[in-house]
């Protein structure tokens, strides 16, 4: 399923969607950035509550399909514009990480 379709199907908010046609396969949940870089795989959806600018670089380098911010976490405009520039998709879910992962589990 594509990131755009996942966003619509689960009722997530598109925060930055520069590459919405990208396919998502699998999911990783984590907030410690080096842990994410060590464990997350390319093309996964990365669910986190971490919302500082470094998440964009981590997502780009780890090559995940998208970041899903859980718990309704908001990011500032600089993060949105950096994500657009670097081709990093960011969605926002108002649910907790577990519920967010449950919602996408049969779709990705």
């Amino acid at each position: 399923m594509t990131v755009s379709s996942l966003c619509s199907a689960c009722g997530f908010v598109p925060v930055a969607l520069p590459d919405g046609g990208r396919e998502v396969h699998g999911c990783y949940i984590g907030d410690l950035l080096s842990w994410v870089m060590g464990r997350a795989k390319a093309d996964e959806a990365w669910i986190t509550i971490m919302s500082n600018i470094n998440i964009v670089a981590v997502a780009s380098l780890t090559d995940v399909a998208c970041i899903i911010l859980a718990e309704g976490v908001a990011v500032d405009d600089k993060i949105k514009s950096t994500a657009e520039l670097k081709g990093v998709n960011i969605l926002m879910s108002d649910k907790a990480a577990y519920e967010t992962a449950s919602a996408i589990s049969t779709l990705v």
Partner: protein, 140 residues
């Protein structure tokens, strides 16, 4: 490719939020050279971890990436405080990062282990009070 290509980057030690610029640039350059995506991922994550370490602990440093026919070498050199016990620093979960860095999601003690995880060879040359040089190799 018969001759090697070298990319040099100055890692700014002042601005934590811009850390990763060198790694992102390396990723772009390697993509242009047609390097396979999984190799690019390994190199750019290893380099980003090194970059973050230089920003957290050493006030920045120099990064060189050398691309040759059969390998990519990453050399990170700083003039920071050095690593007193390299074996301890290599253990997952061991960290000397300050709380300010941990609150940003770093400092989990996974940086050096990740650098080793994603490279085929890694050597650390460090002297307390003088600095650290890390060489990593990813085979193509």
């Amino acid at each position: 490719m018969s001759e090697s290509l070298t990319f040099h980057y100055d890692v700014d030690g002042e601005d934590f939020t811009s850390a990763g610029q060198a790694s992102v640039q390396v990723k772009k350059n390697l993509r242009r050279l047609g390097i396979p995506p999984e190799i690019i991922r390994q190199v750019s994550i290893a380099m980003y971890e090194g970059e973050i370490n230089m920003v957290i602990h050493a006030g920045g440093g120099d990064a060189d990436v050398i691309v040759s026919e059969d390998r990519i070498e990453i050399i990170l050199a700083d003039h920071g405080p050095g690593i007193a016990d390299i074996e301890l620093a290599m253990q997952e979960g061991y960290s000397t990062a300050p709380d300010s860095v941990r609150s940003l999601g770093f400092g989990a003690g996974m940086g050096l282990p990740n650098m080793k995880r994603y490279t085929d060879e890694m050597t650390i040359d460090s002297k307390v009070g003088e600095g650290t040089t890390i060489k990593m190799t990813v085979k193509l």
